[in-house]
């Protein structure tokens, strides 16, 4: 099956590299941030995307990552200035509600859990912090997890339960859950040969995709206790195993991977200026030995490194990407 | 007058002191009133019961005296007034300052005061004045009184002896005001160097020493104009005012030499260096050890080259002072030599060369000692040179070898300064031999830097008056000849050739041999290098004749064989020009007409029969060379020689007269000044040009007008570009130099008329363009001499910008009027050059140009004006255009928009400089300038313009940051494109420029 990516629109406005793009849960807004220390909120007017809001002055250094709350009312922003800001749009306009301090240095990523009650951040200080959101919009640190031995690059919550994944410069992925009143690391996924830049869950949360500086993708499958394959599950905890490695499509590090919950397609963004989209093809043993094929390889999608790629959660096949060249692009996946 | 005197006194006291004193002084000066009656009239006020009135009256004496001519008052009158004033010193404390002020005036205006009066003033001041309680201005008055008396009544004050010294010390005690200190230091220096300080030497030094090192920062804008440097120098002179200070000052200086403040250390070393000759052996010897170790510390720390140099220099001065020949005794001399040896041993471990930097520093310290005197050299060199020579042998890395061999050469230069002094040199011969071995080793390496140093070193030790070994001299000469025929690299070559020259100058008898072997070894491939080298072998008449004849012979042969080769001809002609320049200021030059000038004319005539269309370019090049040679004749020949030479040339060129000259060949008759003659002949006018542009016009007598007329016609009519230009320059040079009141006046009018006719539109375009060219040259000539007729010439020229056919040419060339043309119009060439003529031209014509632009009827004509303006502006120094930049900026910006404007590069450099020196104008145009420059940097089709625009952008970063920051993001971002320019040279500048903009603010990232 052949696909292609059609460039819908290029969004210009940032004056420095763009690090992250994030769709709101309703799919109607796109938030972006980067080296110019600003957040831009883009929305559709008539047929084109325009910048609706420009959020400034909350951070003194690069804003590295963004995450919308599941209700779409809050936006969290992680910055190199060691803080995370929380923005509320309840009044219609975006207002900075709180600034979370605690990390020793650059915060690299932030993620909102599916329930909306928990928030995770990670930083170069090697730690992952879990924050509890109280009823009166206060944020309290619930746990500091220091299991990684290096810089933590990305955090991602499970789509349905309170399970957190993080990946790091130490080449591993860690999973965390709450056990007997405290958070703990419940799995370590080893396999990548260099920094793991990005992780994501699939729609049902039984699979994780990871990607990194070794320019490859890995698909990890969970095996519950008592699984039919008979894979041992020590301590009665699920075990994650790498069931597929996809390489050879990117020439330089993959900085971002995103798994579409609508189509099941995976998109990657890389330092080789290209975007790739992969789709699973049917095989005999899809659970234990899945196969993926490349659906699109968009070379020179941007003029410089691409830092982030994100599927629209509502509109199937709509993709946003952003780059060191300062631009954001919106693409539509098309069948040919 | 009496009543009016009182009236004026009253006016003074009531508050108009200036006018009142003026009136009185002028009355006294005109002898309408007597000075004594002024004092008498003042008496009532001087004795008034009111302190204020007495004060003002006292002050008035000074004010009036100040307005009288110097020395107006007799000694008697002076003594009398002094008495009054001294009495007032004892008056109420509020009157005292006025008395001091008036005394200050009196002592400066009335120079011969009686000796007793002078003494009286000093003693009264010392007794009555508590200087520290007074304001700075009044303290200043005290010092001025003393200063004046020191100058005028030196002996009287000297007679006061210790009383004066201690009195002065007490008065200046605790002075802090820089203005006063400057006076105090001057007084103190005078006192110390002229008076016996007696028992107060230490006190005197202490009162001065507490100011050392001077630490003074002038207030903003420095209203008093006193700099730290002035105070430093004044105090330094005090330190060196008497040898008696040595025992106090050296310990202080030594202490400050280890201060944490670099400026204090620097000042201390400078002061020691300056005082050393005064302190001499007696003052210095016992401190030698401490001076050694302090200087060593400073040198080896290597904080800055200024400090190292200052410390070394102090060492040199100190050692020079301790072995001054008059004060030598056996004891002291052995002390000195012990100290030298000690210093050497002290730094010995650094001389091994393991730490390159430290070694070089230690060597420099040893050299500082060695260069101080023959005696010191004799002790130091045998100690240190073996280490240095072994360092040179030991190291194999080029940079290390280079550092050591340079050091070695510096030592050899110290030896070289004693050339001819065989007694001193004999013991060093062996060392110099081992240095030779080093150099011979280095010559085998490929590094041209090392070879250069080796040759320099060999030259230093192998000059006849340094070495006794003739073979050594011979082998150096041989080496230099071989190298001069092979080496092209500019640094190395210039060392080879200057060494050759130095050796031959010292031993002229070697030059014959050098010339012979150079000529023998000359072949087709090395001819250029050989002819160049031959120029350097000429050191006397004999060698000149040989080389000169060789050049003439070679050129003659080459001309006859023109069809086959022309390269050597031009090399030879250029070398000939160099040779002439080189001997131009020597006695040899007297014979140059016969030896060179006439043969060159013969050569040119011979050549005129050989030129073909194919060799036309060579002809131009050769004639240009000869023109330059002839301008050397014009500049440097004696005036009478020029006259006779000119007579022969004029006869030849105007009458075709050949037979009467001593030309060697039978030459055909030629007519080089007839425009119908073939170009092969007319180009000979270049020889005339050479002479005319350079010679004193008074020397060109016979047939000058005739030549002028002929050249003028040739300039208008010759279709050969080279001939035309050469003739234009002849005409211009004569116009410029013609004596005032001579034919020039009645020349000009018919010339201008004729030119106007030639410019008329019914003529052919080439003819009109030639007339424009001639007009331009005439204008240049007349502007240079600031002639009153220039306005007519230039305004007509500017009006030609409107001409559709001639306008573009005028626009392109007009700027030549303000261009420097040192080869034609210069003092050296006896031209008449009015100072500031360019400024005059610019300011007189700027308005016409700007208006012309505004009123121009078409785009094309506007373009002509823009070209002219931008050309002129880019050739003028910025201080000339600066006042007009506001007016010019819009035009320059428009000129920048024209991508074909040939002045783009120059306009951009004007703007670059403007950024630094007229930031205001540039700043107010930033919003349009920055995008324009970015556009040119990225999109101009000419790489030179892209580079110039980028350079201009880089220069802008010198402006204050608030002007730049708004543009920073845009510039940094857009310059990314220039980084990918297809030309490497543009990219290099783009990277520099972008980096400069990135570095504007530390926060900015790439």
């Amino acid at each position: 099956m052949h696909h292609s990516l059609k460039e819908v629109q290029q969004l210009t406005g940032h004056t420095d590299q763009v690090w992250c793009v994030a769709w709101s849960p309703s799919g109607s807004l796109l938030a972006s941030c980067g080296g110019d220390k600003t957040i831009r909120i883009w929305g559709k007017e008539d047929k084109s995307w325009v910048c609706k809001s420009l959020l400034t002055d909350a951070h003194t250094r690069t804003i590295r990552a963004l995450s919308w709350s599941p209700c779409g009312q809050y936006l969290a922003a992680a910055s190199f200035d060691a803080t995370t800001s929380i923005w509320s749009r309840k009044s219609g306009e975006f207002e900075c509600l709180a600034t979370l301090e605690g990390h020793e240095n650059e915060v690299k990523c932030v993620g909102w859990a599916c329930t909306g009650n928990l928030l995770a951040t990670c930083a170069r200080d090697k730690s992952v912090w879990i924050w509890e959101v109280t009823a009166d919009e206060e944020f309290e640190c619930a746990s500091v997890l220091s299991t990684h031995t290096q810089d933590v690059k990305c955090v991602k919550w499970h789509p349905a339960c309170e399970l957190l994944a993080s990946c790091s410069y130490d080449d591993t992925i860690r999973l965390y859950h709450e056990a007997s009143d405290d958070w703990e690391s419940c799995a370590m996924l080893k396999g990548h040969s260099s920094t793991v830049w990005s992780v994501d869950f699939n729609k049902d949360g039984h699979r994780i995709v990871s990607a990194g500086a070794d320019a490859s993708l890995k698909i990890w499958q969970d095996y519950e206790p008592g699984n039919p394959e008979g894979i041992a599950t020590p301590d009665n905890l699920p075990v994650w195993k790498c069931v597929c490695t996809i390489g050879g499509h990117h020439e330089r590090p993959i900085y971002s991977v995103n798994w579409c919950s609508l189509s099941g397609m995976i998109a990657t963004a890389s330092g080789d200026d290209s975007l790739c989209v992969y789709q699973e093809i049917s095989t005999e043993d899809a659970r234990n030995a899945p196969k993926f094929e490349i659906a699109v390889r968009q070379k020179a999608a941007h003029l410089e490194d691409i830092n982030c790629v994100s599927w629209n959660p509502v509109q199937k096949g709509l993709l946003a990407s952003c780059s060191d060249d300062g631009n954001i692009k919106i693409w539509q996946l098309q069948k040919e | 007058m009496a009543t009016s005197m009182e009236h004026e006194i009253e006016r003074y006291l009531l508050g108009d002191p200036l006018e009142a004193s003026k009136v009185i002084a002028s009355e006294i000066n005109k002898s309408n009133a007597k000075f004594i009656s002024f004092i008498e009239s003042l008496e009532a006020s001087l004795t008034n019961t009111d302190n204020v009135t007495r004060g003002r009256a006292t002050h008035m004496i000074g004010d009036v005296v100040e307005m009288l001519p110097p020395s107006f008052l007799s000694q008697e009158q002076g003594d009398m007034v002094t008495k009054f004033l001294l009495a007032k010193l004892k008056d109420h404390h509020s009157v005292q300052p006025h008395a001091l002020q008036s005394l200050a005036v009196l002592t400066s205006r009335c120079s011969p005061l009686g000796d007793e009066t002078a003494k009286d003033i000093c003693l009264t001041i010392f007794r009555e004045v508590q200087n520290q309680t007074l304001s700075h201005a009044d303290r200043g008055a005290t010092y001025r009184v003393l200063q004046n008396l020191l100058g005028a009544s030196t002996q009287a004050l000297s007679d006061l002896g210790g009383d004066f010294v201690i009195g002065f010390i007490q008065q200046m005690d605790a002075e802090k005001d820089p203005r006063n200190l400057l006076i105090c230091f001057n007084c103190a220096q005078f006192i110390c160097s002229n008076f016996s300080l007696g028992p107060f030497t230490e006190e005197m030094f202490e009162i001065l020493g507490c100011y050392f090192p001077v630490d003074f920062v002038p207030p903003p804008n420095n209203p008093h104009g006193i700099t730290k440097e002035e105070l430093v120098i004044a105090l330094r002179k005090c330190f060196g005012a008497t040898p008696q200070f040595a025992e106090y000052s050296i310990p202080l200086l030594l202490e400050k030499m280890t201060s944490d403040l670099q400026s204090a250390r620097l000042d201390s070393f400078f002061t020691l260096a300056e005082c050393a000759p005064v302190y001499g052996m007696n003052g210095l010897t016992r401190f030698l050890g401490s001076i050694n170790s302090t200087a060593k510390r400073e040198v080896l720390m290597n904080i800055s080259s200024a400090l190292v140099e200052a410390a070394n220099n102090a060492v040199t001065e100190v050692y020079k002072a301790v072995v001054s020949p008059t004060t030598q005794t056996n004891k002291s001399i052995s002390d000195v030599s012990e100290n030298i040896v000690e210093l050497y041993q002290d730094v010995g471990k650094f001389l091994e060369g393991t730490d390159l930097k430290k070694s070089c520093l230690a060597f420099s310290l040893c050299r500082a000692v060695a260069s101080s005197s023959t005696f010191a050299m004799g002790i130091m060199l045998p100690l240190v040179l073996p280490s240095l020579i072994s360092c040179c042998h030991k190291h194999t890395q080029v940079s290390e070898q280079l550092a050591f061999v340079k050091e070695l050469n510096r030592f050899l230069s110290v030896i070289y300064d004693h050339k001819g002094n065989t007694g001193v040199l004999a013991p060093l011969q062996l060392l110099m031999k081992s240095a030779c071995a080093v150099f011979e080793q280095l010559l085998k390496l490929t590094s041209s830097d090392l070879q250069r140093e080796a040759i320099k070193g060999l030259r230093l030790v192998s000059t006849p008056r340094i070495t006794t070994d003739e073979e050594q001299v011979q082998s150096l000469l041989h080496l230099l000849i071989i190298k001069s025929l092979a080496v092209q690299s500019s640094d190395l070559r210039s060392e080879v050739l200057s060494s050759l020259r130095v050796i031959l100058e010292e031993e002229p008898k070697l030059s014959e041999q050098a010339i012979k072997s150079l000529i023998e070894q000359t072949d087709q491939d090395n001819f250029l290098l050989a002819s160049d080298a031959l120029v350097y072998t000429v050191v006397n008449t004999k060698s000149f004749t040989e080389v000169n004849n060789f050049f003439l012979k070679t050129m003659s042969e080459n001309i006859l064989a023109l069809a086959e080769k022309s390269g050597n001809l031009l090399s030879c002609a250029r070398a000939m020009k160099q040779l002439l320049l080189q001997i131009s200021k020597t006695e040899i030059f007297a014979q140059v007409e016969t030896s060179t000038a006439l043969p060159l004319i013969s050569l040119s005539i011979q050549a005129s029969e050989q030129w073909t269309e194919e060799s036309s370019k060579t002809c131009q090049a050769l004639m240009s060379c000869f023109r330059d040679a002839f301008s050397v004749f014009g500049q440097f020949m004696a005036k009478s020689d020029v006259t006779s030479f000119w007579d022969k040339m004029a006869l030849l060129f105007l009458e075709g007269e050949i037979q009467n000259h001593d030309f060697t060949e039978n030459l055909k008759n030629i007519q080089p000044l007839q425009s119908e003659s073939p170009w092969q002949q007319t180009r000979l006018v270049a020889l005339m040009e050479g002479l005319v542009i350079s010679a004193n016009i008074q020397a060109l007598v016979e047939r000058r007008e005739q030549f002028f007329e002929t050249a003028y016609v040739l300039a208008l009519q010759s279709q050969d570009e080279f001939t035309h230009l050469s003739a234009c320059k002849c005409v211009a040079a004569i116009m410029n130099k013609a004596p005032i009141g001579s034919q020039i006046q009645w020349f000009l009018e018919p010339i201008v008329d004729k030119l106007k006719r030639a410019l008329a539109s019914e003529n052919t375009l080439p003819g009109r363009l030639r007339a424009v060219q001639l007009w331009l040259w005439l204008t240049k000539a007349m502007e240079c001499r600031g002639h009153s007729a220039t306005t007519i010439l230039s305004s007509h020229l500017i009006s030609l910008l409107d001409d559709p056919d001639l306008g573009p040419e005028v626009g392109r060339r007009l700027s030549m009027v303000v261009e420097d043309m040192d080869d034609i119009f210069s003092a050296q060439n006896h031209s008449i050059i009015t100072p500031l003529y360019k400024q005059r031209f610019f300011s007189l014509n700027l308005k016409a140009l700007v208006n012309g632009y505004e009123n121009a009827v078409s785009k094309e004509v506007k373009q002509n004006y823009l070209l002219a303006v931008s050309g002129i502006v880019s050739r003028l120094p910025l201080q000339v255009t600066k006042p007009h930049l506001n007016q010019l900026m819009p035009l320059l910006m428009l000129a920048l928009k024209d991508s074909k404007n040939p002045n783009l590069g120059a306009i951009l450099s004007t703007l670059s400089v403007a950024g630094a020196s007229a930031p205001q104008t540039v700043t107010s145009n930033m919003d349009s300038l920055v995008p324009q420059l970015l556009d040119l940097s990225i999109r101009s089709g000419d790489m030179k313009v892209r580079i110039a625009a980028l350079e201009c952008l880089e220069q802008l970063t010198g402006l204050s940051s608030h002007v730049l920051v708004p543009h920073q993001t845009k510039v940094v971002r857009e310059l990314k494109q220039a980084l990918d320019d297809k030309k490497r040279l543009v990219r290099r500048q783009a990277a520099e420029t972008r980096s400069a903009w990135i570095l504007l603010q530390p926060e900015t990232k790439s």
Binding site: K108, G271 | D980, K983, R994, E1003, S1006
Partner: protein, 157 residues
Amino acid sequence: MSELDNANPLVFEITKDRQILPEEEDDSVTDKFDRREIFDLIRVINDPEHPLTLEELNVVVESNIKVDDDKNSVYVEFVPTIPHCSMATLIGLSIRVKLLRSLPPRFKVDVKIAPGTHESELAVNKQLADKERVAAALENSHLLELVNQCLSKRATG
């Protein structure tokens, strides 16, 4: 600064300025990026602890540079003066930043320690390759100042 890591480095001769060829002054010819051009950009970088350039210390040599103008790639290997040089990361960062600022953005630049010349070769290489860390480092004013010092034109030679 406390003790120098390497107090007495060997000093190497510097290359002569690139000779300008006639075609480089011809506006119609495209000059491709070549090894020497990259070398000229980085050889003048100052060493963080000696008053010498990277070229004088032999930290960068022309033969350790690879350039492919068509494939937009630049690869630079450098040799720390001594295998335990604590300044290796700063030197690598300076080279990287100099190239980031001076080369068109189409180039992908890799800066690495020459194999076998430093004890922590892999760690330093990984750090230099991490664009996020480089970006963060350049927002650190202290570090940026150090880098800018390495990149500034030094008055004395």
